[in-house]
Every structure is written in structure tokens, then in C-alpha cells.
């Protein structure tokens, strides 16, 4: 089992629904977020390239945040999901410093929080909240270990990239381009 998220940038409209859905699903306090949208514009009018992307923790296979955590609060569970146990987190911020994607934040209650791939929903057999709400259906989620899963097939058949691969974290959120 290796969970991964695949996001089709050709369809994403940058609406931020994934951000709001995450917020209401995961009680993310207003002013914080576990996922966010970036816009990249390149070119000169009227030859312009525009890319919109929904970003979040990449659930890196080689996760520096987990490595640097002194208490083990940051850990990896079944399926490669990187989680933080609030009750073990001292709020030292090392993991925040270590994440090349700035995917973590300090929850106002003190512990560090981030995308969980909606672990609690997976337990119920539901897709992550952001995936299930996205109006363009540009987000896919599933098991990379299964060669026939939607995510595996998409990565097999479509051009894709990950963010900052040079950081060497082996991210597991993929972007179709």
C-alpha cells in the first residue's frame, strides 16, 4: 500500500474549494491551511502560460520532517502517510524548518499540524475531503502499489512532475502537466 495523490493541472481552475473543504473537514482554524493554491504565469501577452496547482504535504517517502523530529511525533503510517501526533509534539518547529514545501504550520493550540491525506476518512473508506469536493475532478487518490489503480494508470500514461524533486524528498503528490 502506497497512497499517492495525482492532480491534473490541465483541469484545476484554482478555485480553492479543496482548501475550504479541508478547512471544514479538519477544523483547520481560520487563517491557517493544510492545502493552498499557487498560480504561475509565464510569457508575454498574448502568449502566456498559466498553471494553477493545489499543494499540500507531499507525504514524502524520504521525509526530512520525520527524520528531524526529536520526539517521534512526526511519523509515517501504513500507506506512507506522514502524520503528527499532537500529544507527542513539543512544537520545536524542526519539522517546519525541514519541509521544503512549507507544508506544516503551528496550530494555535501549540502542536504542529499538516495534511493527513484525511487519514480519518480513509479509515472510513472515504476519499480525502479535498479530492471528494473538487469541482473539476482534477484530483485523484489511491494506491501506487496497485498497478491498476487510477493513480498508477494516470502516472503511467500521462506526463507528470513533482514539486522540488531536487530537494530529494521523494514526494507523493504528483502533478499531471
Amino acid at each position: 500500500m502506497r497512497y499517492a495523490m495525482v492532480i491534473d493541472t490541465l483541469k484545476c481552475v484554482g478555485c480553492s474549494d479543496c482548501v475550504v473543504a479541508c478547512q471544514t473537514e479538519n477544523d483547520v482554524p481560520i487563517g491557517y491551511c493544510r492545502d493552498w493554491i499557487t498560480e504561475t504565469v509565464d510569457g508575454t501577452y498574448p502568449n502566456i502560460m498559466l498553471e494553477l496547482k493545489s499543494e499540500r504535504c507531499n507525504h514524502c517517502a524520504n521525509a526530512p520532517c520525520v527524520r528531524c523530529c526529536p520526539t517521534g511525533a512526526s511519523h509515517i503510517v501504513e500507506g506512507g502517510i506522514v502524520l503528527v501526533t499532537a500529544e507527542e509534539c513539543i512544537g520545536c518547529g524542526a519539522c517546519i524548518e525541514s519541509c521544503p514545501y512549507d507544508a506544516r504550520y503551528q496550530h494555535p493550540d501549540g502542536y504542529v499540524d499538516k495534511c493527513t491525506f484525511c487519514h480519518h476518512r480513509l479509515q472510513k473508506g472515504q476519499l480525502p475531503a479535498c479530492v471528494s469536493v473538487c469541482p473539476t475532478k482534477c484530483m485523484y487518490f489511491g494506491d501506487l502499489d496497485n498497478p491498476n489503480s487510477e493513480v498508477s494508470l494516470l502516472l503511467k500514461n500521462r506526463k507528470h512532475k513533482t514539486l522540488a524533486p531536487e530537494a530529494g524528498t521523494d514526494p507523493h503528490v504528483f502533478y499531471l502537466t
Binding site: M1, L10, K11, V13, G14, C15, S16, D17, V19, V20, A21, Q23, T24, E25, N26, I30, G31, C33, V41, G43, T44, Y45, P46, I48, M49, L50, L52, H75, V77, E78, G79, L83, V84, T85, A86, E87, T116, H119, H120, R121, L122, Q123, K124, G125, Q126, L127, S132, V133, C134, P135, T136, K137, C138, G142, D143, D145, N146, N148, S149, E150
Partner: protein, 747 residues
């Protein structure tokens, strides 16, 4: 642990289907994942689900409001079976929780009063406020006639008040969704196909092979199922052609982005027609069987060559020809999208006509992948006495505009200004669910009119700008806290949806139906409101429709079979279009007879003078007009609008991204607030762009006050559509001011 893809789907189907014991759910994945306390809490938390439909915009997506034991709304999730949303709300719908939780909401009725010579509001009881309103209703009727009490409304509360006003004897009713929004396209398509486009638009986007968006900015315009279907179209490799002077989101997803010079769309469309006819690319059978006026059209567009259009639109002839061929190649599975907010340049009905004619030539109306024949089910009317017949109504107010099919807001507003040739004096006004100071242009006119009113009452959920002008402000509870009318809308197949309160109204707010009933009873119209709770009305109606409130509470949306016949034209079969001729009117006799051009013509519109830029505006996907600017969830995503400026302009004026500037328009109106610049290649050098709905004036909006510029404030010049009265708003020019123009007087 191995969970195959197939199993995953199956489980997720289960999960979405309903509640199932969390313990067994945990076992599905084995218990080898250590669950954190929070996760366990989340998994075991049981939320109550209440059927509703969204009111954050007018797409009315059916949804489930999830609330916890404490009566807090936790989240709102789309109803899986709903054709408006297919189980996925847009960001605004998902963020609807903020409409409910916004602590700046109106909390009690307010009455205008004077303390120490200064006008202010004081809190009042509902009884006091309603008594006062009732006395004004009586007063106005006695002194001027019921017709002089006008209603400006939008959305669900409007329905209830419309009933009140009609019972009272006034049909002086209008909403911004006509003259400031869709009116021109409805007039244009009606003149061509004999029917409105309507809402939701019957565009068969999911099956289209070519989607042509002329200014329609789906993706920023988040009308839900359209966004979803556009994404399906991308998956299906449909060709998307976007005509927009700005690189809209949709344009960035298009194979062809025609970066048109603003206000020249009709020229482009005439050239398209020219190419399609000249190259014999039109649907000959369809044109022959279903249309009239082809020869006149052929003659009409003969000289409108791509080269001619190039000079006007700046779009290269090859591009025009290539895109025309693409459309024809895909026909009839092609959609020249009618757009929605079309009050642009005053010749908007004609621009809509051009779109309609193109669809007619390509045979896409009534075809798969084009426009389907929509259908809805009618909701039986709850019995009430006959409405009295007003002496005059919105039709009379808008009589100058022969094809206006709804009240024209600006005309109703003008009626409030006394003059000797004002035959239809408006003396009092109720405003419900519309923030007219932001949605209706020409603030001077508006303020002048409001000044003349004897009485003005506003029903709103938020202390929006418009409430500041009222004599009485009534706090409505949000859509999540009330019953409302049954939603029945046009779609591929008929369906209905209900709105049931998920939680009790917060503060001292009340539902719109209750307000209408209370006023009605106080002015002797109790017979029109024979129910204690609007629930009874819905129960009665649902019963008649073969269902029940009980069933609807469980399913939220109910589907009905089509009765009007097939969704698409049947090959070779006769079809009567609801026009005078029974055919699609490429040449409109109706327009001709009324003294308008029977076929669209390009007319040149003014261009920005030296140092000025055309003010372009549009939507942010995370906001609805002005209503969500203060919504805590959505404000966190976008708290102010930005002024898009081309780098060339930025260089000339010396602007930097993030810098605050002010705007002054051609009529010397200076923006109250400033706006932060965004230097971007996405906008042309002759225009600036901003998202509509910001720059709030009311200090009570703690998050939205003073953030960004209100585009409507800059729209003081309107180009009125002579056919249906739409107020074209894209002919305003602004200059960019880098020094605060408001601080000078102080020193």
C-alpha cells in the same frame, strides 16, 4: 495490507452512502495503523445531515448541512444525486458555513432614529419594526396606491416578498439578475429560438466537442455543474475556444485563446458567420428545416470578412478562419456559450443574437453536445386568494424597452425621482437579498432616488452597504436556518430539492417567509398566508408532487421522468420552435418591426482616452459578488481585490505589485478606498481588471470594510440596451492615482 483499487471504490461508495459503524470501518483497514486520538475522535463523530440547497449564489446546488450536537454547522457537502452539483459544491458553497457563523451578521431589527442631530440606528423588537413597516404599507397605499411601493429583490427571500407585494397590489418588482445580468441574452436568444436560455443554462457541455466561451469565464464564474462539465469536456479532448481580452482561467485551458480587443465581439462573430457560410460549413439540413432568414443573413454577412474583423478585433484572419472551421468541424456538438452576465456595452441583445445565430447555423440548438431541450417540473401553487390587479407595474415602468421581460431595476429606481413626466411614482421601497449599492450602477442616481423615498426597508443577513440607507433593517436568518420554497429548475431531467433548517436561527434573525407573513397579517392580508410555518406549504406541495417532507428529508433531491419529449431533436422529425414563425429566426422580423436591426451589426464603442484604462471586472472563484467578502472562511482565501495592470502600463506609471493605488473615472469619481496593484501579463495594456464585490463601505463588516475598490462605484456611465433595458457597464474608463487623494483636506 492490500486494498485493491476496486475494493477502495466499493468502500468509498459505502462510506458516502450513509452512516456505518466506525468500529467495522476501522477493521476494514486492519488496526495496524496507530490512530491518533484526534483521528479516532473524527472517525467516531456523528454529525446530523440536513437537506438544503445553497444560497451563496443562484445555482442552488442541493447539499447536506452537517451539524454537531451543539448545533454548530461543521460542513456542507453536495448532494450526490443533484444535477446542479453532482455531490461537489463550489468553494463558496463549501464555505457556506461562514454565512452562518459570521459574527458580524445582523442580529436584531434596526430602526433609523436621530440622536443629537445625528442619524443612527437603534435596536428594536420585531413587533415594533413590523408594526412600523405595516403602517407604512398602509400609508403608501392610501396616499399613492400600492403600486408606489416597489420591491427590489434577489434570491430566495425575494419569492416570499413577491407574494406579499402582489397580494398587497404592487407588481413594481425588479431584480439585478435581469438588467445587470442575464436580460440581454434572454432577449437575444428568445428572439432567435423563442425561448430563454434560463438558469441553469441547457448547455450540453459534458458531451460537447467544441466549447466557445465569449467572455464567459467559467472556472472563475463557478456556476457549479458548468465548471464540472467543462472539466469533463477537457477530459474528452473537446476543443475550447475562449474569446476574452484577459487571459481568464478558461482561456488558459483553451486550445485557442482569442485575445480580443474589448467591445468588438460582434465583429468577430459576424466574421465567423461569414466564414461558415462562405465555406459552406453550416449545417445545411438543419438550417433548411428549422431556420428562417438564412438568405438575408448570407447577404448581411457577405462583407464581414475575417480581414475586416481583424482591423476591429485585432484577431488575425487565419485565427478567425481556423476557429470557425474548428467549430464547424465539431458541429452540431458545439456550444457558442451565451454567457450570463452580459450587460456590457449596450448592444448586448444583439451580441447575444449573434451567438444565437451562430448556434443556429451550426445546428447546435437541440443537439447532443450543443443545447439540450431543458425541462422542469412545476410546483403546485399553495392556495391563496387572487392577487389584485395593479394599475401599473414593472412592464409599464420599463415600457421604453419593448423586449424587457422582467422588471428593470434602474427604471424602477428612476421612478422614485419626482418629475412632471414621471407617470409611475415610486414612494417606498423594500430591498431584499440584493446589495443594490454594489450591484446596480450609477450611485448618484441611486442616492438621489433613495433620498426621495418616504420609506425604505431592507431585509438582509449582513450589515451590507445597502442597509445603511434603510429606515428599517430586518435581519434574515441564513439559508441554513430556514425553510424556503421548493427548488425546481430546468435541467436534462426534472428534479426538485428542498431547504430544511439545519440549525435554529442565530441571534434574533427570522426567515423571509415569516417576515412576509407578519407584514401581510398586519395589513389585513392574512388570507394569503394561511399557515403557521412555511413547512406546511412545502408539505402540501410535496404531497401533491407524489412525495413527502419525510422522504425529502432523507433524499434531499427527487428526480422525475421527462414528459416533454426527447432531449435532442429527433433526426428528420418536424419541430416547432416557440417563435412567431415556428422556426429559428436568423433574421428577426420581431426586432425589425420594433425598429431595431433584424440582424446584428457591429457598432464602434468609445475607447479609453489618453491616460485612462477600460475598467474590466469579473468573478473570483471564491466569492459571490459582495455577499461573501466578509465570510470568515472565504475572506481568508481572498480578503480584497487587486488591480490587474499590464507590465507596460506599470512601467509607464511606475507601479509595483502590492502598491496601493486609487482610481478616478471619466466622470471624476474617485474611489473611496485604495486597491493593491497586481502587475501581470494576463491583462491587456488598454484595460485594468478587478474582481467585483469588494470595497465595502460599512464599518460593521469587520473583515471586509475598506478592503479593495468597489468596481460599481467606478461605473457611473451605463450604455443602456435599447431593446431590453440592460445597463452596459464596461464602458467606463479609469486613471490610476498613486497618491492618496483623500488626505489633502486635512492639512
Amino acid at each position: 495490507m492490500t486494498t485493491s483499487r476496486r475494493k477502495f471504490i466499493k468502500i468509498s461508495g459505502l462510506g458516502l452512502g450513509g452512516v456505518f459503524a466506525s468500529t467495522s470501518a476501522l477493521n476494514l483497514f486492519g488496526n495496524n495503523s496507530p490512530l491518533t486520538e484526534k483521528t479516532v475522535q473524527k472517525i467516531t463523530k456523528n454529525l446530523k445531515k440536513t437537506a438544503t440547497y445553497c444560497e451563496v449564489c443562484f445555482w442552488k446546488c442541493a447539499a447536506w448541512a452537517h451539524s454537531d450536537e451543539q448545533g454548530n454547522i461543521q460542513k456542507i457537502i453536495g448532494n450526490e444525486t443533484d444535477p446542479h452539483c453532482y455531490g461537489r459544491l463550489c468553494p463558496r458553497g463549501t464555505g457556506g458555513v461562514g454565512m452562518y457563523s459570521d459574527e458580524d451578521r445582523l442580529k436584531t431589527p434596526l430602526i433609523r432614529t436621530t440622536i443629537d442631530g445625528e442619524e443612527t440606528f437603534r435596536e428594536a423588537s420585531w413587533d415594533e419594526a413590523l408594526d412600523l413597516i405595516a403602517s407604512k404599507f398602509k400609508d403608501i397605499k392610501e396616499k399613492h396606491g400600492a403600486e408606489s411601493f416597489a420591491l427590489l429583490k434577489h434570491g430566495s427571500p425575494g419569492k416570499h416578498l413577491e407574494h406579499l407585494f402582489k397580494a398587497y397590489g404592487s407588481d413594481t418588482i425588479a431584480e439585478p439578475a435581469y438588467a445587470q445580468c442575464r436580460g440581454a441574452r434572454e432577449a437575444g436568444f428568445n428572439a432567435t429560438f423563442g425561448s430563454w436560455v434560463g438558469s441553469p443554462e441547457p448547455t450540453d457541455i459534458r458531451d460537447t466537442k467544441c466549447l466557445v466561451l465569449i467572455g464567459s469565464h467559467i472556472g472563475e464564474n463557478m456556476h457549479n455543474s458548468q465548471v464540472q462539465e467543462m472539466s469533463d469536456a477537457i477530459d474528452n479532448n473537446a476543443t475550447i475556444i475562449t474569446v476574452d481580452p484577459r487571459l481568464s482561467t478558461a482561456a488558459s485551458k483553451s486550445q485557442y485563446w482569442l485575445a480580443i480587443k474589448p467591445a468588438t465581439d460582434i465583429a468577430l462573430m459576424l466574421a465567423w458567420m461569414h466564414v461558415i457560410i462562405k465555406e459552406d460549413l453550416y449545417d445545411k439540413n438543419y438550417v433548411k428545416r428549422y431556420t428562417t432568414g438564412f438568405d438575408e443573413l448570407k447577404e448581411h454577412v457577405q462583407n464581414f470578412t475575417p480581414e475586416w474583423a481583424y482591423g476591429i478585433t485585432t484577431i488575425k484572419p487565419e485565427e478567425i478562419i481556423k476557429t470557425a472551421r474548428e467549430m464547424a468541424h465539431a458541429a452540431p456538438a458545439v456550444i457558442i456559450h451565451p454567457g450570463r452576465h452580459v450587460s456590457w456595452y449596450g448592444d448586448d441583445t444583439q451580441r447575444a443574437r449573434a451567438m444565437a445565430i451562430l448556434n443556429g447555423l451550426l445546428g447546435s440548438w437541440g443537439r447532443r453536445g450543443g443545447f439540450y431541450f431543458k425541462e422542469k417540473i412545476s410546483v403546485p401553487k399553495y392556495p391563496h386568494p387572487k392577487y389584485p390587479h395593479p394599475k401599473w407595474d414593472w412592464t409599464d415602468v420599463g415600457e421604453k424597452f419593448p423586449l424587457a421581460q422582467m422588471g428593470i431595476t434602474t427604471e424602477v429606481i428612476k421612478c422614485a425621482i419626482p418629475s412632471k413626466d414621471n407617470k409611475y411614482p415610486v414612494k417606498a421601497m423594500m430591498v431584499a437579498g440584493t446589495n443594490i449599492t454594489k450591484s446596480i450602477p450609477d450611485k448618484k442616481l441611486l442616492e438621489e432616488a433613495i433620498d426621495e423615498l418616504e420609506f425604505m426597508v431592507v431585509l438582509d443577513t449582513m450589515p451590507m452597504d445597502v442597509t445603511g440607507y434603510a429606515d428599517v433593517v430586518l435581519p434574515e436568518c441564513t439559508y441554513l436556518e430556514r425553510y424556503d420554497g421548493i427548488r425546481s429548475a430546468t435541467n436534462r431531467t426534472p428534479s426538485i430539492a428542498v431547504r430544511i433548517p439545519a440549525v435554529k436561527p442565530k441571534y434574533d434573525s427570522k426567515p423571509g417567509w415569516w417576515v412576509a407573513k407578519q407584514i401581510g397579517e398586519r395589513i389585513g392580508l392574512g388570507d394569503f398566508f394561511k399557515y403557521d410555518d412555511y413547512k406546511e406549504v412545502i408539505e402540501w406541495q410535496l404531497e401533491k408532487m407524489g412525495t413527502s417532507l419525510e422522504e425529502m428529508e432523507k433524499i434531499g433531491v427527487k428526480h422525475y421522468p421527462r414528459k416533454s419529449g426527447p432531449m435532442y431533436l429527433v433526426e428528420g422529425e418536424h419541430h416547432e420552435f416557440p417563435t412567431d414563425s415556428g422556426k429559428i429566426e436568423l433574421y428577426s422580423k420581431e426586432l425589425k418591426n420594433l425598429g431595431f436591426d433584424a440582424m446584428p451589426l457591429y457598432t464602434k464603442h468609445p475607447e479609453p482616452p489618453q491616460g485612462f484604462y477600460r475598467l474590466n471586472y469579473g468573478r473570483s472563484p471564491m466569492h459571490t459578488f459582495s455577499r461573501t467578502a466578509n465570510n470568515p472562511n472565504l475572506n481568508a482565501l481572498k480578503s480584497e481585490n487587486n488591480l490587474w495592470v499590464n507590465p507596460k502600463v506599470a512601467r509607464i506609471i511606475g507601479l509595483k505589485t502590492g502598491q496601493s493605488v486609487w482610481l478616478r473615472n471619466q466622470d471624476k469619481i474617485t474611489s473611496t478606498f485604495s486597491i493593491k496593484v497586481r502587475v501581470t501579463e494576463r491583462i491587456r495594456w488598454d484595460s485594468v481588471y478587478m474582481v467585483h464585490g469588494f470595497g465595502h463601505d460599512n464599518k460593521k463588516l469587520s473583515r471586509a470594510f475598506g478592503k479593495g475598490i468597489n468596481d460599481t462605484q467606478m461605473v457611473t456611465k451605463t450604455m443602456v440596451d435599447p431593446i431590453m433595458g440592460g445597463t452596459g457597464m464596461r464602458g467606463n474608463f479609469v486613471e490610476i492615482i498613486t497618491e492618496d487623494p483623500h488626505k489633502t483636506e486635512v492639512i
